[in-house]
């Protein structure tokens, strides 16, 4: 069974079709890089896959289940443009909160474990509003990985990250892939993304222009996909 199956998905903003008949698949353990220029529909597609909005037509399946089903949501970890943690709560309170929402057996212990893995254990009781940007980003990464999701959805994960957060995220992504998790990421950082990816999908104006394996030629020349399948 595919970890992700996108079957003929259309998404409209008013009359404008932001996604047009998208068909994608990602087997379990794959790393799929969604690439495309600004406005191509990468974020809309990821948000639809994450279940934040329903497709106008077609369907999305995560391990055979629709994204709004509780079982599917347990398997999804999402990092979007925002850090998705509360400024008014401490790092430990934030992670414990999400641990409870995901029904983890011992949310506090899991929160402490992830604070340690992301190097935030010394500031665990500090309010997030007092954190530096890098610390906030690492907490966001911990929040997304906390419930050990089978499918990680990352919307431009390396953009605006500080170096330490990039290193933490890259390490965690490699570990996740080695453990058989599936990663779907939209990105403009082609080199970093293609080095991790097993599959590539190029979106052009809401349509899939290329979907297939990530070849060594693509890794060697990240602009190759755009040059071959894009609009120049």
């Amino acid at each position: 069974m595919n970890a992700l199956a996108v079957e003929g998905v259309w998404k409209f903003y008013g009359d404008y079709p932001a996604l047009r008949d998208i068909r994608l698949e990602a087997p379990a353990g794959a790393c799929l890089a969604l690439i495309g220029r600004n406005g191509a529909g990468k974020t809309t597609l990821l948000r639809t896959v994450a279940g934040f909005s329903r497709p106008g037509r077609g369907k999305v399946l995560i391990f055979g289940k629709e994204p709004r089903e509780t079982e599917a949501r347990r398997q999804i970890g999402f990092i979007g443009h925002g850090i998705s943690v509360y400024d008014e709560l401490s790092a430990l309170e934030n992670l414990t909160l999400f641990g409870r929402l995901y029904g983890l057996p011992d949310p506090r212990a899991r929160a402490l474990e992830w604070l340690e893995r992301t190097g935030l254990e010394r500031v665990r009781d500090g309010l997030v509003r007092e954190f530096s940007r890098g610390m906030r980003q690492r907490l966001a990464v911990a929040r997304a990985f906390l419930h050990e999701p089978s499918v990680l959805l990352l919307d431009e994960p390396f953009t605006a990250l500080v170096d330490r957060a990039i290193a933490v995220l890259q390490t965690l992504l490699r570990q996740a892939l080695a453990a058989g998790k599936t990663v779907i990421m939209s990105t403009h950082q082609l080199r970093e993304a293609l080095e991790l990816s097993s599959h590539v999908a190029l979106l052009v104006r809401g349509k899939v222009a290329y979907h297939g394996p990530c070849t060594p030629e693509m890794v060697a020349d990240p602009g190759l996909v755009y040059a071959t399948y894009g609009e120049g």
Binding site: R54, R73, Y86, E88
Partner: protein, 247 residues
């Protein structure tokens, strides 16, 4: 020294349906406690709401002579206008609190039903609204020279029912308007017309109670209306909120 380690195991839910129900209310509780904790750290909504309530009560007291009996009788109705206006400030923050850092995405992504999320937020709003109302009541008593404690239990019942009506409608429209730029304007415009029957009932019931009279048998229809409104809109909101949040 030998130590005895005692592990407290949570009670096993009897059936899957029991488990779902248990999980639903537990999730609502988690969301409620999160909202209350966040609000108590910043006090943004509660301070604004209480300050606003006191200012309106003060300004209205200039317009009405507290020594005239008719005005005293009307002051119960006035009280609900103040609660509705001041309450909007709390309700506006309910989902708007989730916007910085895109926290709403994380909540929607979590395996929590929209209904549990809504119930948790509504309960947090309810606690905050009741707190503002209970602190405003003595201020109201002083400004309007009324002894509002004569029918205290009945007054608290009406307060509880009327506030739940305000909370349910306000919370669901707070979710609906969260991504609208003019949500501060839109929320009261959407909330008050739908809330009108409940506000009317709460006002009708509060006026005699403030004057020290018990709820007369002919007033029971207002009480039934208020209870019916609460039950109906709670059910509708719980049913619709998933669509409101995800579309």
């Amino acid at each position: 020294m030998a130590q005895t380690i005692t592990t407290i195991k949570p009670k096993e839910p009897a059936t899957q349906a029991d488990h779902r129900r248990y999980s639903f209310f537990r999730m609502a509780l988690v969301v409620m406690l999160k909202d209350l904790r966040a609000e108590l750290r910043t006090k943004e909504a509660i301070n604004g709401s209480f300050g606003f309530a006191v200012v309106i009560l003060l300004l209205f007291s200039f317009a009405f002579d507290p020594d005239v009996d008719t005005n005293k009788a009307l002051s119960g109705g006035l009280l609900w206008l103040v609660f509705a206006f001041a309450g909007t400030l709390i309700l506006n923050r309910s989902f708007a609190r989730e916007l910085p850092n895109d926290c709403l995405d994380a909540l929607i992504a979590a395996p929590v039903s929209g209904a549990a999320l809504f119930l948790g937020k509504a309960l947090a709003n309810y606690v905050l609204l009741l707190a503002v109302e209970l602190v405003s009541l003595p201020v109201f008593g002083i400004f309007y020279n009324v002894h509002w404690t004569h029918q205290l239990s009945a007054l608290l019942l009406v307060l509880a029912l009327g506030t739940w009506a305000l909370t349910v409608i306000g919370t669901v429209f707070s979710a609906l308007t969260v991504n609208i730029k003019l949500r501060e304007v839109m929320l009261p415009m959407l909330t008050y017309p739908i809330l009108a029957p409940a506000l009317m009932a709460a006002m009708q019931l509060t006026m005699p109670l403030i004057a020290g009279n018990a709820i007369a048998p002919e007033m029971m229809r207002w009480l039934k209306l208020l209870i019916g409104f609460d039950v109906m809109y709670t059910a509708i909101s719980l049913f619709l909120v998933e669509t409101v949040l995800v579309g």
